[in-house]
Structure formats: structure tokens, C-alpha cells
């Protein structure tokens, strides 16, 4: 693990100009680039990658939507238009391995791109960071967050969608011993309400918002921190905590932010 004075993130086109191909593409995703709150997660994850001396680059302004929200909303035409363009671009940069913080981007690269000709080794940041912790490349100091209790909300497209439940929990365990579970966890977890392109539309009429139902469940555990590992879950849970007027006591943080906060940097 390296101490860093000035963080610099390499950009794919710059490396290509120097004839270099990084091992990983860090796919930032639209929320990672544009969502005010979630940009902090992107920053945290990039810092962790730099501390761990991972050989990576981002596409920067060349990145474009991989078509996931369009596909889930039923616009297969627009999805495939985006997908075939993205595949061409990644071919140009000779991308073999992708890391991303977004479970939706992760899912579509892993499950739906191969049929269209895009074959990559895709890793979600929870899995990637957990490996770095397990290998001892990143080490956390348990004293920093030891008084905080953490409850983890499973993103649908990581959990049920791809059967990945434990790495994020392992990261949480590496920063505190106070781990709480919601009654509905892992494959029984309740959706935050944003999936299936709900993020971009008004909710249909009902007697409650899904994000309120889920946030209440998280708040009822009494945890100090609600940990998430998906940009859309973060929007929903953060909104839910504000809606319940609990933002002073309870924080919604991404697992990358938690790990960065607890990072032990040897000087």
C-alpha cells in the first residue's frame, strides 16, 4: 500500500497515445460521473485503487451509457445501439478487464454483453476491494470506526442478480465488529425502489414509496451507518434517511468510503 501526496487518475486515451494498455478499465458509470453525492464514492474508490497501486485507467469523456436503463425500460433498440458502440470502443483500447462500482453496469457487462460480442472479466468494486483487503494490499485500522455499527443493504443486481452477497459484508467486518443485519437480507433483501429504470420515472401510485419502506427497515436496526454498494441504492437510502429526518444521526456510506476512512496508511 502506497502513501500518496497528489492523486492522479490515468485516462485511457492518454495511455494509448503512449502505447500503454492498463490492466483494468475503471468503468465510472453515469452516476459515478454526474451524481453529486455519488461522485464522492468514485473519488474514494479511485483513491483506494491508487493506494493499492492497481494498473488502471478511466475512459473519461469518452465513456458513454452502456444502455442498461434503456434495456430495463424496454428500449432494446437504444440499449443495443449503445452496447455495440461501447464494444467497439473497448475493442479499440483492447480492454480485457473491467472494474465498476455500479451493480447495474457490472450485470450488463457480465451477462448481456457477451452475446453481443463483448467478453470481459468484470468485477464489482465490492469484490475487488475485498480481494485487496484479503491479500493484505489494503489494510484497515479497526480503531477508526470501531464505535460505529453498520447495516448493509444488498443491491438487487449484485445479490439476487448475480449471487454476490458476502464481499461487501467482509469489507464492513474489516472496519468494525458491530455488524447488524436487516430482517430482509441477502437473497431476501428488499429492493431500494430504483431498479428497472424506476430511478428515472415517477413511482406508480401505491400507499408508500419503496425507498421509505426499505429505509425504515434499515433505521429500525439502530445502526449508525447504512452501507450501500450501488449508486441508485445510495440515492434512495440517502433520500429515505432525509425523509425520516435522521440525517444527523445516521449516515449512508458506500463500502469504498468506509474502507478509505478506515485505511491504515503506513508512513
Amino acid at each position: 500500500m502506497k502513501d500518496i501526496e497528489t492523486y492522479t487518475v490515468p485516462i485511457m486515451a492518454d495511455l494509448a497515445a503512449q502505447g500503454k494498455t492498463p490492466e483494468y478499465l475503471f468503468w465510472v458509470g453515469c452516476a459515478g460521473a454526474f451524481d453529486t453525492r455519488y461522485k464522492k464514492v468514485t473519488v474514494a474508490f479511485a483513491k483506494l485503487l491508487l493506494h493499492a497501486e492497481v494498473d488502471f485507467a478511466i475512459l473519461g469523456s469518452e465513456e458513454t451509457c452502456n444502455g442498461d436503463p434503456a434495456k430495463r425500460a424496454g428500449n432494446e433498440m437504444l440499449f443495443q445501439m449503445q452496447a455495440l458502440r461501447v464494444i467497439e470502443m473497448l475493442k479499440m483500447y483492447n480492454v480485457k478487464k473491467i472494474i465498476t462500482c455500479c451493480p447495474h453496469c457490472f450485470n450488463i457487462f457480465k451477462n448481456e454483453y457477451p452475446e453481443l460480442g463483448g467478453n470481459y472479466e468484470v468485477t464489482h468494486h465490492s469484490v475487488f476491494l475485498n480481494e485487496l483487503v484479503e491479500k493484505g494490499i489494503l489494510t484497515s485500522d479497526k480503531n477508526i470506526l470501531k464505535d460505529k455499527s453498520i447495516v448493509y443493504h444488498d443491491p438487487c443486481y449484485l445479490g439476487r442478480g448475480n449471487d454476490i452477497y458476502e464481499p461487501a459484508r467482509e469489507i464492513n467486518k474489516s472496519v468494525t465488529d458491530k455488524i447488524i443485519e436487516m430482517p430482509r437480507n441477502r437473497s431476501k433483501a428488499l429492493c431500494c425502489g430504483a431498479g428497472g429504470a424506476q430511478m428515472f420515472k415517477e413511482a406508480e401510485t401505491g400507499n408508500k414509496e419503496v425507498f421509505v419502506e426499505r429505509t425504515e427497515e434499515a433505521l429500525n436496526t439502530g445502526a449508525d451507518i447504512v452501507a450501500t454498494s450501488c449508486p441508485f441504492c445510495m440515492t434512495m437510502i440517502t433520500d429515505g434517511i432525509k425523509y425520516k429526518n435522521r440525517e444527523d444521526e445516521v449516515k449512508n456510506l458506500d463500502i469504498a468510503e468506509l474502507l478509505l476512512m478506515a485505511l491504515k496508511i503506513d508512513l
Binding site: 473519461g60 451509457c65 443495443q80 451477462n111 406508480e204
Partner: protein, 432 residues
């Protein structure tokens, strides 16, 4: 001899009615779209685990254990039923008794499971009659669904009571020289049947035998018209279910051809006009045979709806309803075209007349429904297929989604930000 003739005629009638029902179903399947199947080894393991092993039913532990016991009991008792049919045709008595330990195994397990199933069915009946379990209610749960469940449970109860009667009468008639093992009936018989004469026992034996076998025949022919058809369809449905992770949503190959041609006209093959008849699903003619099999395998347990975030928060969506609707619409459409020919259009469709857009747009594609379904029905893929019709054929997506589509087309992001702004977060890297 008379018994053999009567039995054989009844059996023929049963098979004829059943064949008629299957022929009608075959016609329904012929209306649906093709979808290839492969990977048989993996499917076989999945079937052993989810269908035979009942793994997903245990996600509701109490109902799960009772259901699994009934299911496993059915498996061993079915072997005994096969013997009864052979005996009935040929006038033999316990034809399989020459199989030694195997016969001891099937008679002993069948005997124990008959009583176990009686207890389980009493649990299921009382749960439906005396407790209000939320997932057994909902707009799609018409009175037919309720009676359907109660009739099936009562038939199964009678099946088991008659089997117990048969076993007990047999044990009491042959206390020392019976073939096979009847661990429970040999205990109960002296307690319950000691007052009966030899003739009385014989009558009880015959009545139990006929009641049991006739109920099987009747039940088998009610099933294709009932939600309890899952007795036949659930094992094949699990076997044929999707093997991809739940997060996977099928791509549309016809669109790939079109877009390749559009983006790379020099190298791509040109799309044929016949390749796309219709985008997405509007009616039962657009669904795959697997979607329809899903609807036949659905036993309306409601675990999907019980776990649906939209349904939990009072939205109209109920994943179970989508498949009950598919089954109902297929029945209506198939009957209409059977009479009037395939060109007939009754002016109705699955989408709109059965499933409303409000239901479809409430789905978060979270896959809680598919995760819970004990027979591996995949609800989100059909929901998205109907969304595809709404978006690509009707252009009738909600306003927010149309704005999202436009943003992706114009600036490559679901929000209205220019691509250059994708670098802005880098400015925050060195701010503390």
C-alpha cells in the same frame, strides 16, 4: 374377470379424456414462439436440486416442510399406484411383490407417507379455512382459485384415507402372511378394525381400492383445468428453466442484426424483413412456449407477490397475476381461434385487456419474485418483454423514461450532462 373389464374400461376412458386435454394444450403451445433448449446435464442437476430436493420451497420453512413431505410421499405412493393399475388390468394381486426388499421399501414408505400426508393436508386445509394468509388473497385470486385449492386438498386427503383403509384392511385380513411392510397400518388395523368380520374386511378392502384408484383417475383429469396442474408441470418447468443468473435479461437478436447493419453497413449482414414480426410481447402469440409453461406451472402460492417491493408498497403490480392472466388469455384466445381459425382477431390482447401498463411500469426488476418462485418461473423477463412492446411499438413509455431515452441518445447519459463533465470528479481527488 368383470372387475378387470370394468377397470380396463374406466382406465381407457380416463386416458382418453386425458389425451383430449393434452391435445388441447398442445394446440395452445403451438401458438407460442420457439426458444431453443440445451445444456441437459446442468438442467438435470437443477431439477434434482430444486424440484426433487424442493430446495426453494423451504424458503418458507413451515409450509416448506409440509409441502416437501407431501411431494416426497407422492413419489413413493405413485409406485404403488402403478402396481394397482397393473393389478387392475390383469386381475393380479400385488404384482410387484416379487421384488423383495424393493417391495418392502415402497410399501413401507408408502404406508408411512400416507399418514404423514394426511397430517400435512389437514395443516394446509386449516391454514386455508381458518387463517387469513395475505398471499392467498389479491385481485387475481378469484373464488375459483380458492375452491380449486380446497377441492385439490380434499381429493388428496381422500386419496390418503382410502390408501390407509386399503392397507389396514389388507393387514387385518393377513395378519401373519402379508407381503410388503406396513409399519403404521399394521399397528392401527387391530385397533380400528378388530370388530369387522372377514367379509367386512374384504368389502372395506375392495371399496378402498376402488375409491383410491378412481380418485386418482378423476384427479388426473381435473388437474389440467386447475392450478394443481403443477403436479405434472412443475418438474418439467424447473428442468427447462433459465440457467443464466437472475440478473440476465435476454437480448433481442433481430435487433442486433439491424443495428449492426446501421452502424457498420459495409461489414454487417442485412436484416431480412421476416426477422422481426413484432417487438416485444402484446398477446399470447408473442410469448415463448416457456412463458406459457411457466403459467401452467404456477400454483398460485403467491410467494412472488408476497416479496414484490411494488406490491408490498401498495402498487398494482402482482407478479402472480401476470401469469394467471397469461393462462386465462391463452384459454380465451385458443378457444376463439380453435373455432374461428388462426386469422381470427377478437380485438383483445394480454397487454392492456389483462395486464395494465400501470402494473408493468411498477416493476423494479429486482428479481425477488423469480428468486422466491419454487418452480423457477421468471416473471421479470415477461414483464420487460411487454415493456418492449409498449416502448418500441406503441412509443408509450412514461414521460420520465422518454426523457432518459432522449438523454442517452443525445449526450450518452441518462441525465442531461455533456460528456466533458465526466471528468469533473477528478477535480475533487485532491480536495480534502
Amino acid at each position: 374377470m368383470i372387475k378387470q373389464v370394468v377397470f380396463s374400461l374406466v382406465l381407457l376412458a380416463t386416458l382418453a379424456v386425458f389425451a383430449y386435454s393434452m391435445k388441447r394444450l398442445w394446440y395452445n403451445f403451438s401458438l407460442t414462439k420457439k426458444q431453443p433448449v440445451g445444456n441437459w446435464g446442468k438442467r438435470f442437476r437443477l431439477m434434482l436440486e430444486v424440484a426433487i430436493g424442493q430446495t426453494k420451497i423451504f424458503r418458507y420453512p413451515l409450509a416448506g416442510i409440509f409441502h416437501a413431505l407431501v411431494f416426497w410421499g407422492f413419489l413413493v405412493i405413485t409406485l404403488g399406484s402403478i402396481e394397482m393399475v397393473i393389478d387392475g388390468i390383469f386381475g393380479t394381486e400385488r404384482i410387484m411383490s416379487g421384488t423383495g426388499w424393493f417391495y418392502d421399501f415402497i410399501t413401507a414408505s408408502g404406508d408411512i407417507m400416507a399418514y404423514v400426508i394426511v397430517v400435512c393436508i389437514l395443516f394446509f386445509l386449516s391454514r386455508r379455512l381458518f387463517i387469513r394468509i395475505k398471499r392467498f388473497y389479491g385481485v387475481e385470486m378469484q373464488p375459483k382459485s380458492k375452491y380449486d385449492a380446497l377441492i385439490a386438498l380434499k381429493i388428496i386427503l381422500l386419496l390418503m384415507v382410502s390408501l390407509a383403509g386399503l392397507n389396514m384392511a389388507y393387514c387385518q385380513m393377513h395378519p401373519d402372511d402379508h407381503v410388503g411392510l406396513f409399519p403404521l397400518s399394521s399397528i392401527f388395523a387391530p385397533l380400528l378394525l378388530s370388530d369387522l368380520s372377514t367379509h367386512g374386511l374384504h368389502v372395506l378392502h375392495e371399496i378402498s381400492w376402488w375409491v383410491h384408484i378412481l380418485l386418482i383417475f378423476i384427479f388426473a383429469n381435473i388437474l389440467p383445468y386447475s392450478k394443481h396442474f403443477h403436479v405434472f408441470t412443475s418438474i418439467p418447468n424447473v428442468f427447462l428453466s433459465r440457467l443464466e443468473p437472475l440478473g440476465y435479461l435476454q437480448n433481442m437478436p433481430s435487433i442486433t442484426t439491424e443495428i449492426r447493419y446501421m452502424l457498420f453497413p459495409e461489414t454487417a449482414e442485412s436484416p431480412t424483413e421476416a426477422s422481426v414480426a413484432r417487438y416485444g410481447v402484446k398477446d399470447v402469440g408473442d410469448v415463448t412456449w416457456k412463458n406459457y409453461l411457466d403459467s401452467l406451472a404456477c400454483t398460485e402460492c403467491g410467494r412472488c407477490t408476497d416479496n414484490c417491493p411494488a406490491n408490498i408498497t401498495g402498487k398494482k403490480l402482482s407478479p402472480r397475476k401476470i401469469f394467471i392472466d397469461l393462462r386465462a388469455r391463452m384459454k380465451e384466445y385458443a378457444e376463439a381461434t380453435r373455432v374461428n381459425g388462426l386469422e381470427y382477431n377478437d380485438g383483445k390482447s394480454l397487454l392492456h385487456d389483462f395486464v395494465s401498463t400501470e402494473e408493468l411500469w411498477a416493476c423494479t426488476t429486482c428479481n425477488a419474485c423469480a428468486q422466491e418462485c419454487p418452480v423457477n418461473i421468471n416473471h421479470p423477463s415477461l414483464i420487460v418483454d411487454m415493456r418492449r412492446y409498449l416502448v418500441m411499438e406503441e412509443a408509450s413509455a412514461p414521460a420520465g423514461l422518454n426523457a432518459m431515452f432522449a438523454n442517452i441518445e443525445n449526450n450518452g447519459a441518462p441525465w442531461q450532462y455533456p460528456p466533458e463533465d465526466r471528468l469533473l470528479w477528478l477535480n475533487d481527488l485532491n480536495k480534502s
